[in-house]
């Protein structure tokens, strides 16, 4: 057998963000692989110490290009804990609404990337077309497609008007139909299944050892979802179930993500229907009393963790971000062992890479 070393990345059509792999091949089979990351390290945690609490909202929103709102929201929540203020219920509902829309957007985007990487361009186009609906709703709500900038410390800044509400409910019906169809494709399309079943296996033990979170962990049978395990308004008032699978392969992850998308559409509807009236924000002081706080929330890719320490000034002394993609990135060499060269693309897209999140 000939041994070849195939470089994948930092520039490769498979990767949308820079990440480097050296893949040792024996024929078509992967025997070993090494990973190099850090190409998009921007030093955001350090930058946070240079800027004020308010400026940081917009800085941490740029950690990730897909789940931007949830970063800003989790950061704001940590600062609000330090300040000891509670956001008004309407603000909490609006934040959750954008969270769920972002989940829909992220999961549909991911399905498109996976389909593209297995050569099923049709689904890529359909998934990204349907994702456009979620983006349109978010743009109408917040004024931006990707960076929403709705969070302020103490609440949110943009509201839903009754007309907008009706319009969004209508758009959600379309989205519901399309996502249902896409779920059907994942469940029934034969060629997609032949490529994704049994590929990129992660056992429950491995998931526990690497502290993997989010859909990847849920596809391997780890029942964890921050929305349910640490319920905050409005999730404590809404009922939803957390999809789980035990197969632990890329197909199971696809199923988990698409089912989550459906549930998110449903949650968006519930949030819009049950949204209470009231103020959007409470006034927050600029100086934050000394202390430290942690805040966790369920980003599209899993549990997102923020730690904020203040020394009493208007600048944080330390901000630590733990993004959900980093542990699943670290499992990649494990998952790659023994698959064929053709499956590398499936494995890499299966964990929903967000290198910008992982490098920060």
């Amino acid at each position: 057998m000939t041994k070849t070393v195939i470089p994948i990345g930092p520039q490769h059509p498979l990767l949308k963000e820079p990440l480097a792999f050296q893949i040792m091949l024996e024929g078509e089979r992967v025997t070993d692989s090494t990973m190099r990351m850090g190409y998009v390290h921007r030093g955001i945690e350090r930058l946070c110490q240079e800027r004020t609490f308010i400026q940081n909202i917009h800085l941490v929103e740029r950690v990730c290009g897909i789940c931007s709102h949830v970063h800003a929201m989790t950061y704001c929540r940590a600062v609000e804990l330090l300040l000891g203020i509670n956001v008004p219920p309407r603000a909490a509902y609006l934040r959750a609404l954008l969270c769920e829309l972002e989940r829909i957007h992220s999961h549909l985007l991911w399905l498109g990337v996976l389909a593209r990487n297995v050569g099923l361009d049709t689904i890529f186009m359909y998934a990204w077309r349907d994702r456009e609906v979620a983006l349109d709703i978010m743009e109408a709500l917040s004024g931006g497609r990707v960076s929403h900038a709705v969070n302020i410390i103490g609440g949110v800044r943009s509201d839903v008007t009754p007309e907008q509400r009706e319009e969004i409910l209508e758009q959600l019906t379309t989205l519901d139909r399309q996502v249902n169809w896409l779920l059907g494709v994942v469940e029934h399309e034969r060629s997609l299944q032949t490529r994704t079943k049994g590929v990129g296996l992660l056992s429950l033990q491995q998931v526990r050892r690497y502290c993997v979170v989010g859909p990847v962990a849920r596809a391997s049978g780890l029942d964890a979802d921050m929305r349910r395990d640490e319920p905050r308004t409005p999730y404590d008032r809404l009922s939803f179930n957390v999809p789980m699978h035990t197969a632990g392969d890329v197909w199971a992850r696809t199923l988990v993500r698409m089912q989550e998308t459906l549930i998110s559409v449903e949650l968006c509807r519930d949030i819009l229907k049950e949204m209470p009236e009231g103020p959007l924000a409470v006034r927050a002081p600029r100086r934050v009393p000394p202390g430290e706080a942690i805040s966790r929330s369920e980003a599209p890719r899993g549990e997102l963790f923020y730690y904020v320490r203040s020394d009493g000034s208007d600048t944080p002394a330390r901000v630590k971000i733990r993004t959900p993609t980093l542990p699943s990135l670290l499992t990649l060499p494990q998952q790659l062992k023994g698959v064929t060269m053709a499956d590398v693309s499936v494995v890499l897209s299966g964990v929903d890479l967000c290198i910008a999140c992982a490098d920060r």
């Binding site: 490769h12 498979l14 361009d121 359909y126 490529r195 064929t340 053709a342």
Partner: protein, 307 residues
């Protein structure tokens, strides 16, 4: 003089060139419509071709320069030679008993050149793609050849034109041998390395396969070869499985032939929008365990019927 016109204009290079660009456009447009997009305007394939011709031609270090220049020309020549023996709507460039075998041989040459293009390149993606293209060639060519043999057996001739005319008197081979037609279609997709069997040039795995290091004029010639191969493969299938013009006696043969070819092209476009790419081991399984036995059954059935 007549021979020169046949070689250069119809059904030779000029016609083939236009048909290749037109088929490329129809294909891209159809797939775009399947995706819910608009697709490129009609002049896009020509514009792409001209742009590639005008681009800087880079030969990567470590690549055999002479071979890199010769391979696209060799494969283009083979494809254009093959075009002379494939009748277009009953008009024959050249024909003799046994030209089917010559055409099949000439259409196999680009596959070899494609593999060599990967082999002489210095890049790992090219080498890997070259290996894959050879593996794919073996698993797709066998069912394709076996399926293509069936109409010949039934007609009792190895001349494409005669097989086509034979069907005009009886019935389309696609109707008498539907299994053979489907196998030939799958084999053709594999031969042309189209979606969903674009394994040797899968973008997310081996970038562009053997052609990764090619650029400029050479890449333009490669693309032209590929498109011409598509056209010829479709023409061959039309002649072998939808031969003659029995059902349309009043209409001239050429438009009917064009319609049949576009119909097969649409089948290819639909297949590429329908399926995900297979893995190379899955393709080997499909080729040897399913397609080849089925082709054998078709040959036996044809022998039994046509005896």
């Amino acid at each position: 003089m007549n021979a020169l016109i046949k070689m250069l204009i119809f059904p030779g290079f000029g016609f083939l060139f236009i048909a290749a660009l037109a088929f490329d456009w129809i294909d891209r447009r159809m797939i775009a419509r399947f995706h819910g997009r608009v697709g490129p305007p009609w002049y896009q394939p020509l514009a792409d071709f001209i742009k590639l011709l005008a681009k800087e031609d880079v030969v990567a270090e470590g690549t055999h320069g002479l071979a890199a220049a010769a391979l696209p020309i060799v494969s283009l020549t083979a494809v254009m030679t093959a075009s002379l023996y494939i009748p277009v709507g009953g008009i024959v460039g050249a024909s003799f008993e046994g030209d089917l075998i010559v055409v099949l041989f000439l259409l196999a040459l680009p596959a070899l050149a494609y593999f060599l293009a990967g082999w002489i390149s210095a890049g790992v993606y090219s080498v890997l793609g070259g290996h894959r293209s050879l593996l794919q060639y073996f698993s797709c060519e066998v069912p394709f050849l076996m399926a293509v043999t069936c109409p010949a057996i039934l007609a009792g001739s190895w001349s494409i034109n005669e097989i086509s005319n034979f069907q005009a008197q009886t019935a389309w081979s696609a109707l008498t041998q539907p299994l053979g037609f489907i196998l030939a279609l799958i084999g053709l997709i594999g031969k042309l390395k189209r979606d969903p069997l674009d394994i040797p040039k899968a973008k997310s795995e081996v970038v562009a396969g053997p052609l990764t290091d090619f650029s400029g004029r050479k890449l333009a010639l490669w693309h032209l070869t590929m498109n011409m191969q598509t056209v010829l493969g479709i023409f061959l299938l039309v002649n072998l499985f939808f031969g003659g013009s029995r059902f349309f006696n009043r209409v001239p043969a050429l438009p009917v032939f064009g319609l049949k070819s576009v119909a097969i092209l649409l089948m290819l476009s639909t297949a590429s929008a329908l399926y995900a790419r297979l893995r190379i081991d899955q393709l080997m399984d499909l080729g040897w365990r399913i397609l080849a036995p089925l082709a054998l059954i078709q040959i036996l059935a044809t022998l039994w019927i046509g005896g």
